[in-house]
């Protein structure tokens, strides 16, 4: 089972998506993110997928589940750092992330969140 890393910075949860995902890791990931979201009242969740050397349909479903759960708990999900080869393969497989926001890396993701928050104010 892969380790789940969750960091909380300035109202944003930073979740490192494990490079290898099995059923148990996936379950634990969604559970932990959920409880940390409630605990920290985070407004956004950055899911860093740069460790993932591939994302198959199972992992894509976990990712979508994670995003969906975050939304339900009032936090905006952003998937960041997807590798080019992973993105091409996902598209060829016929998968997408169903309109979840994306960013090239964590810095871009944080900057986007700040920009959107600024517009709302």
């Amino acid at each position: 089972m892969a380790d789940v890393h969750i960091l909380s910075v300035d109202g944003v949860l930073l979740v490192t998506f494990p490079g290898v995902t099995d059923d148990r890791t996936a379950e634990r990931l969604i559970e932990e993110v959920g409880s940390r979201l409630v605990e920290r009242a985070a407004r956004a969740v950055l899911i860093d997928v740069s460790n993932a050397r591939m994302i198959d349909s199972f992992m894509a479903r976990v990712l979508a589940g994670l995003a969906g759960a975050s939304r339900l708990l009032g936090a905006e999900p952003v998937v960041v750092g997807m590798r080019p080869e992973v993105a091409i393969t996902m598209v060829e497989l016929g998968m997408d992330l169903g309109g979840v926001a994306t960013a090239l890396n964590v810095e871009h993701g944080l900057a986007d969140l700040r920009a959107r928050a600024g517009r709302r104010m």
Binding site: P84, A87, T102, L104, N105, H108, G109
Partner: protein, 271 residues
Amino acid sequence: MLDTDAVSTPALLRRERDEALRTWGEYLNRELRTPNLDRRIVDEFCTGLYDGLVAALESGSTTLSDSLQGLLSALSVEFAERGFTPSQTATFVLSLKHVLNERYEHAAPTMTGLHKLIDAMGLHSMDAFIGRREQIIRHQSQELLDLSVPVVPLWEGILSLPIIGTLDSTRAQEITEKLLFEIARTGSRYAILDISGVPTVDTQTAQHLAKTVAAAKLMGAECVITGIRPAIAQVMVALGINLSDIETRFSLAEGLRYCFSKLNLTVRPET
């Protein structure tokens, strides 16, 4: 006349090495017509091949040793890189047979093993020559492909990719990959795909463009397609290709203007 009956072939070849090498060198110089090939290189290869051949004969082996194969490969690579023809390469190796035949005409029967070995050497050098040539051709076509996919940074965070010429499946794939890796490398949020240099677009090409845009989106970058000529737009509509999810602009300049506005940049004349 040479006395070949008294000694075995390898011993004979060893004894007359310098003389045979000199004759071979002269023959090559006369027949090969390779003025830009350094004499020393020729001599070096001749000596190496001759000694290798003698060693092979002595060991009674019918296959080429690794070191002899290595030398033949080196020779063929050298010739392929210098742009020599396959027949020049074959001549180099096979002419040794000719030279030895002239010297030991009356001893032909004892030379069968020798002939077989030289033939094997010729064949090996051909394989190596062709292998190297293929490698060179592959390398060149890759270079051409790289040249034909110029990903140009237009501004901090904005890449442009002017696509010129017909987009076949292989090229479309290369273009997609190059663009996405450049997006990741440079951390660019926007990419402008200008297709004004593409003569026609078929269903497959259009689908490929759509896939490129989708993959960039997954990574966190947005693509703008510019330069869709009216004729191509008509074709795309007729093919039922839906580009409504994709940002399109008439010209590269308009595409750049769109990216500037998204990055909160304004361009205005000096007052």
